[in-house]
């Protein structure tokens, strides 16, 4: 096995870290405190070709491999989990299904703008009564002439209302369950499509997640993404890859917490010496570093499977399950190392802790990941 990153992967990691430390880290606490979406970062990320890294250059992307993209999500998330979430939702959840299932005309109309970062994307699957049970959605799309008419609502939609292109899932045949679900590309400002008030969240507060409302929203018939009735497959295939992005986000958050803990442990003096000299602290640092490394191996392995056209559903689920729960554990230890200061906004670890929790929940809860993994193990 070769555990070395390629030259390009190392240089991409260094470049994204340089960008993130210069542009993202300085505003991360403020984005969190003010629940502010970092609109000013998106053109800068687009200029560095971060918004469509794994897509071909001729389609507006950077032509990088999946692992390089995952490393980029990790590095951005290390600086700011909200910005990592925005990047991952745009690239993995919104752009990927257009790339994978879109027609040539849809590629022409949307993919270039999305992969180049000119237009931000969002993925609208979850509904108020259909979270983990995504197939239970009640949003409908009825074909009338050469248009579909959308009705219903979505909830927790990352990147709305800033996104311009939405991948929306709706039932074209409610009698067929998941096989009656279809995917559509819906543009912002389409009449009948409105965005509600953003949620106030525990963490990733710089990422916007409002509900969407469709009220007799007419979209052209060629807005259908993939075949009619294939929407659930489109959603599940998209989430298989998206989970690796969330795992990378968790990895970045945990690394940030470890970095802060190491720095603090060397500076903080108690009993006349830095607390880093105390075994109680050393053991926590050792466990954190080991868990992060184990997660990194799982995450990079899953991305590598994707790069090599090998199945990655189970590998991605394992990576997300372990990395997300690891991030919560590591960030908890980071607060413990910081003591009372760690519980305040004076240090970043309380933000890391709040940001980490969502990675256990969105794009498939830990329980869903365990279902996926168990299904493969018991096959």
């Amino acid at each position: 096995m070769d555990f070395e990153l390629t030259d390009e992967q190392q240089l991409i990691r260094d470049a994204v870290r340089e960008f993130a430390e210069a542009e993202v880290t300085p505003i991360a606490a403020e984005l969190d405190r003010d629940h502010r979406f970092p609109s000013e970062l998106l053109p800068k990320m687009a200029e560095l070709n971060l918004m469509g890294m794994p897509y071909p250059e001729k389609m507006g992307g950077a032509g990088a491999d999946e692992l390089s993209y995952i490393i980029a999500v990790e590095e951005v998330s290390r600086a700011c989990a909200s910005t990592g979430c925005i990047l991952s939702a745009h690239s993995s959840l919104a752009t990927w299904p257009v790339y994978k299932f879109g027609t040539a005309a849809q590629h022409e109309q949307y993919l270039h703008d999305m992969a180049s970062g000119r237009r931000l994307g969002a993925f609208a699957l979850t509904e108020p009564a259909a979270g983990t049970d995504a197939g239970a959605g009640t949003c409908t799309a009825v074909l009338k002439g050469d248009e579909y008419v959308l009705n219903g609502s979505k909830i927790f939609i990352t990147n709305a209302p800033f996104a311009e292109i939405y991948i929306v899932f709706a039932k074209t045949d409610p009698t067929q369950g998941t096989r009656g679900m279809s995917a559509f590309i819906v543009e912002k400002d389409t009449p009948g499509f409105t965005v509600g008030e953003a949620e106030h969240k525990l963490g990733i507060r710089g990422s916007s997640t409002p509900p969407l409302y469709f009220n007799d929203c007419h979209i052209p018939a060629d807005a259908l993404l993939g075949a009619e009735g294939s929407g659930f497959k489109v959603a599940m295939a998209t989430l298989d890859g998206g989970r690796i992005g969330i795992a990378a986000q968790a990895l970045g958050i945990a690394q940030a917490a470890l970095d802060a803990s190491v720095a603090y442990a060397k500076e903080r003096v108690q009993f006349g010496k830095p607390i880093a000299t105390l075994q109680a602290i050393q053991w926590m640092i050792a466990d954190m570093a080991t868990e992060i490394d184990a997660a990194r191996l799982l995450v990079y392995r899953a991305a590598s499977c994707m790069d090599n056209d090998r199945p990655y559903g189970t590998e991605g689920a394992m990576a997300k399950l372990f990395a997300s729960e690891m991030a919560t554990r590591v960030c908890g230890k980071a607060i413990q190392i910081h003591g009372g200061y760690g519980y305040t906004e004076s240090y970043p670890v309380e933000r890391n802790y709040r940001d980490a929790k969502i990675t256990e929940i969105y794009e498939g809860t830990s329980e869903v990941q365990r279902m996926v993994i168990a299904r493969a193990a018991l096959r």
Partner: protein
Amino acid sequence: MKIVVAYKWTSDPEEAAVRADGTVDWSRAKPGLSAYDPVAIELARHLADAAGAELIGVTAGGKGVAVPIASKAALSRGLDRVVIVEDESLAEAGRSELAAVLAEVIRQIGDVDLVVTGDSSVDVAAKMVPTVLAGELGWPAVAEVTAVSGQAGALHVERAIPGGVQVLEVSGPAVLAASADAAVPRVPGMKEVLAAAKKPVELLELAALKVPPGNAVMTVTGRSRPERKARKGQFIDTTDPAAAAAELVTALRGAGAL
């Protein structure tokens, strides 16, 4: 028209350790582009774009300077191509020997109008190569450069000096050492990183270069480590700032520091 940037692939001193005998252990330090060289590349890239010149990176050193990641790192910052001399004998070479090699490479490239370097190397920080290189080439050297405009051959160069800015008109070829704030280096985009592998890399053999003996020869005659003075641990109450300032001045005078 050609502009050369002399860059260095070296190790990050923050990851180096100082041994008890005062020598430096670089074995665990991560190699990378010397910290100030991206500034030189950025400054030179602007000048090259303005003049339609080719921008060539040049480096010389011991084993490791020709590894692909080193040239890719430099090329991704905006160079058009690189020319590299890698030879084990250069690993411990002094600044004068390195400058002589770089000068010969620049002569062989030919028609070079300008050489730009970083302010200093991040590992040694001697700030000598630009000046010795200029001496080898017979060109003027301008250090502490904060801004450059105009074209190679008729440059308007600003340099920071104590109390102000010195403005120089530089004609003919020259070596400029860019200060750390002469330009804001761009972060390489993903496409630039991926395209770096497709740019030309030329490897030159040191023996084939036939580098003439350098004009300046420097040798290390000794090595010492400054003694660490014990701290006095004297605290001054700053409740009354004026009294505190007076007490500080008295203390410094008493210690012979003023």
